[in-house]
Amino acid sequence: NSSKESLQKVQIGEVTRSIFYAPQYVALEKGFFEEEGLDVELSTIPGGDKTMTALISDGIDIALVGSETSIYVNAQGTDDPIINFAQLTQTDGTFLVSREKIDNFTWDMLEDTTFLGQRKGGMPQMVGEFVLKKHGIDPHNDLELIQNIDFANISTSFASGTGDFVQLFEPQASVFEKEGIGYIVASFGTESGHVPYTVFMAKESFLNEQKEVAEKFTRAIYKAQQWVYEQSAEEVAKAIQPFFEDTELDIITSSVERYKSQNSFAENPILDNDEWDNLQNIMDEAGELPERLNYEDFVNTEFAEMVTE
Amino acid sequence: MNFLTIQDVSHVYFSKQTSTTALHDISLTVNEGEFISIIGPSGCGKTTLLSIIAGLIKPTVGTVILDNEPIHMKNKKTGYMLQQDYLFPWKTIEENIFLGLKLTNQLTNKTKIKTLSLLKKIGLSNVKDQYPSQLSGGMRQRVALVRTLATDPKLLLLDEPFSALDYQTKLTLEELVYLTLKQFHKTAVLVTHDIGEAIAMSDRIYLLSKGPGKVAQVFTVPKELRQLSPLEIRNSEQYNELFTIIWKELESLEGKN
C-alpha cells in the first residue's frame, strides 16, 4: 500500500467494455502497470465521441478508441492534436453471422439477402462495406442493407427475426452460435487486413510532457500483448474474467480463441504506415474520410519502438 | 296524500377514524304545493337533509318517499340548489342555465326561451354571454337559481339561495320565487338562516337542533299570513310575533348546547 502512494496516477477511458480489448485487461489484472509504477484507473465511456471528448477536455489522460476517431478530430484542425501511440488491436473485430447453417460459405451468397450491418459512420460499418466491395458486392444495390440500428440493439433485432446475415462483435457472435440463433461464417477481421482498429491515444502535449509515463504505459501494454500471445485462450479468459463477471467462461474463451486465431490482438504496440494507409483507404472508400492525414504527424511510434527493442 | 315523506331518517358520516352523526331520527311530510323551511344552527345537518332528499346521499337508516316512489339518484323530479352557486366557470351563463335541460334531453327552443325569460325576470338578461367569474356573488346566486328552476322540477330544494344578496334584491327574489312556485303549484324545501325569510315564504317551519340534528320544533305559519306575499308579510303584526317566538326558541336551543 505504501508503494501505491508513490505510483503515478493515469486515467484511461475505454470506448466500451469488450473482450476484443483483452490485453488491456490482462495488463490491469496481472499488475503490469503497477510493475511500471503506474496506477491506472479505467472508466468506460460508451461512444467514441464521449471518450474523445473526455480526452480533449482532460478528463482522462489516455483514450482507448478506434483510430478513425482521431482522424475525424485531427482533420478538423487543433492546436494539440490527438496522437496514436500504442496499438491494441489490429484487425476488425466483427464477424459475419448467418441465420442458416452454411457449410461452404462464399461471399456471393450475400447477394439478394438482407444484411444487418453496423451503424453508419463507425469503423465496423466502413470495414463491412469495404469487405463487401472487395468481394464484388455493391452494398447498396446487390443486397438489402440495414444500417439504422443502434449498436446495442443489432443483436436483438437479428434474434427477433430481422435479416439473413448480421455483422456482430464478440461475445455476441459466440453466444448466437452457442444458442443456435446464428452461425459464424466469416470474419471481417481476416478480410480487412491489418488496420489500427483500437489504439491508445493521447494529446500531443501529454506525450511531450509525460514521456516517461507514456513509455511505461506502452511497456505494460507490450508485456500484456506478449502474455496474451503466449498463453492459451483459456488462460487469457481466466485472467480477464473479473472484467466480465456476467459472461460465462466458455463464451469468453471461445471469443478470445477466435480473436487470437485471426491475429486480432496486435503483437506489439507499433502502428505502422501500411496499417494507417489501409485505414484511410477504407474510410475513403466509405466516403467518410475528411482528408488524408500524414502518418508522421499523427502517429508516434517512439515509445512503442523503445519498449519493443 | 303526502308528496314527500321522510320517515325515521338518520345519517352518520364515517371516516376511518371518526363517525359524525349528522341527523337523528328525522320524520316529516310535505304535501304537494306546500312550502316548508328548515332553520337551525350552523352544522345541524340541514345540507345533509337536503342532499338525502335529492337522492345524492343514501341515509344510513330511514326511507324517503317522493311522489309514491322511494327516491334514487336518477330521479328527475327534484331541483337542488346547492349552498354555494357552483356555476361551471368554463361555461357561459347561458350554457350554465341550459345545463339541466341538456342533461335531461329537454333542450328545445321552447324550453330555451322559457329559461331565458326567467333569467330576464331575475334581472340578468344582459349577462347571458358572460362567464361566472365576471359576475358578483349575488348575481351568481341568482343564475344558480335560474339553472335549478329551468328543468321545471316538481320538488325544489333550496339551500340558502338568497344569502349572498343585498336586502333589496333578496326581497324582490323572495317575492318572485314565491309567486312562481305558487302559480305552478310546486313543492319546495328551503334551508335558511334568516328567520324572517322562513316566515315570509313558508307554510311550515322546522327548527332543527344540533348534535345530532333532530326536529326540535315545528311552527305553522298562520293562515292569515299565508294569503299575503312575502313583502306584505314582513310588514304585518303577526310576523313580528312569530319572529319573536322562533327567535326565543332558537336562543334557548343555543343555550342548551
Binding site: 478530430v73 436483438t156 | 345524492l56 331541483g79
Partner: protein, 268 residues
C-alpha cells in the same frame, strides 16, 4: 385642486405601459439571445472553449446554409417532426384515456396505482430492445418510444387532476340525474383542462426527448439520427446544428399548444 379623471386617456396610458414593458422584455430576451451566441462565438474563437467540441455559431450557421441549399436538412426535419407529432398526440390522448378509465373505476385505480409508479420510474431508454422485438426496427419503434416517454406521466398527472375536481360540481350534475359519463364530460374533463394543457406543454418536451432517443435506437433519417451520426464521426457542428433545429421546432410546437390553450381557456 380636484383632479379630473379621464378614463380613456388613463386606459391608453395603461396600455402604453403594457406595450412598453413587453418591448423591454423582448429587448432583454433578444439581448440574452445575442449575448449567448456572441459569447459562444468569441469563446470559441479565442479557444476559451474547445472549438472541436463546442463548435461556434458561425460554423454552425454555415453548415446550416450548406444543408439548406443542398436540401439535405429538410427530410431529417420532417421525419422527426412527424414522429414527434405522432408520439405527442398518441401519448397525450392515450394518457388522458387511461386517466379517464382510472377515474371511472376507483378499484381499478387502487389496483394499478403502484404499477403506474413503477412504470413511471422505469428508464424507458432501456426498454429499447423490447420495442424493437415487438415492433421491428423501424419508425413504429421510434414513435412508440415517444409515446412511452409521455404516456405514463400524462396518465398520472391527469388522473390526479381528475381527482381534485370539486365534488360539488358533480353533485350539481347528479342533482339533474346525470349519468357518470355526463359527469365526466361536463365537469371532470373541462375542469381539468388547465392541467391537461399544462401537461400538453410538458409533453411537447418529453415527446421530443422520446423521439430523439428512439432515433438513437433505430433510424435512417431524422434529427436524432443526425446527432448520432455527428457523434459517430465526431462532427459536433452537426450535433449542435441538430440540437438548435430541435430547439426551434420544439418552441414552435410549444407555441402552438399555447395558441390552443388560449382558444380553449378563453374565459381564463
Amino acid at each position: 385642486m380636484k383632479e379630473k379623471i379621464n378614463v380613456p386617456l388613463l386606459h391608453q396610458q395603461y396600455r402604453n405601459q403594457l406595450r412598453k414593458e413587453k418591448r423591454w422584455v423582448l429587448f432583454f430576451q433578444i439581448l440574452i439571445f445575442l449575448a449567448f451566441f456572441l459569447f459562444w462565438q468569441v469563446a470559441s474563437h479565442f479557444k476559451w472553449i474547445d472549438p472541436l467540441i463546442f463548435s461556434s455559431p458561425i460554423t454552425i450557421w454555415n453548415l446550416f446554409l450548406d444543408k439548406v441549399s443542398d436540401g439535405s436538412l429538410f427530410p431529417h426535419i420532417w421525419t422527426t417532426v412527424f414522429e414527434t407529432f405522432l408520439g405527442f398526440i398518441i401519448g397525450t390522448l392515450g394518457g388522458t384515456i387511461f386517466a379517464a378509465i382510472l377515474w371511472w373505476s376507483n378499484t381499478l385505480s387502487k389496483i394499478f396505482g403502484p404499477y403506474l409508479v413503477i412504470l413511471n420510474a422505469m428508464p424507458k431508454v432501456a426498454l429499447g430492445p423490447i420495442l424493437i422485438v415487438a415492433l421491428g426496427p423501424n419508425m413504429t419503434s421510434i414513435v412508440a418510444m415517444g409515446v412511452l416517454v409521455t404516456i405514463i406521466i400524462t396518465t398520472i398527472v391527469i388522473y390526479s387532476s381528475f381527482r381534485e375536481v370539486d365534488p360539488n360540481y358533480v353533485k350539481v350534475l347528479q342533482s339533474f340525474g346525470a349519468t357518470k359519463f355526463q359527469c365526466f364530460k361536463e365537469a371532470i374533463l373541462p375542469s381539468s383542462f388547465p392541467t391537461i394543457i399544462s401537461t400538453l406543454k410538458v409533453n411537447v418536451g418529453l415527446s421530443w426527448v422520446g423521439v430523439i432517443v428512439g432515433e438513437y435506437l433505430v433510424s435512417k433519417q431524422g434529427l436524432g439520427y443526425l446527432i448520432i451520426y455527428g457523434f459517430q464521426v465526431f462532427n459536433f457542428t452537426l450535433v449542435l446544428l441538430s440540437l438548435l433545429v430541435i430547439a426551434v421546432f420544439a418552441t414552435i410546437m410549444y407555441k402552438l399548444v399555447e395558441v390552443i390553450e388560449q382558444k380553449l381557456l378563453k374565459n381564463g
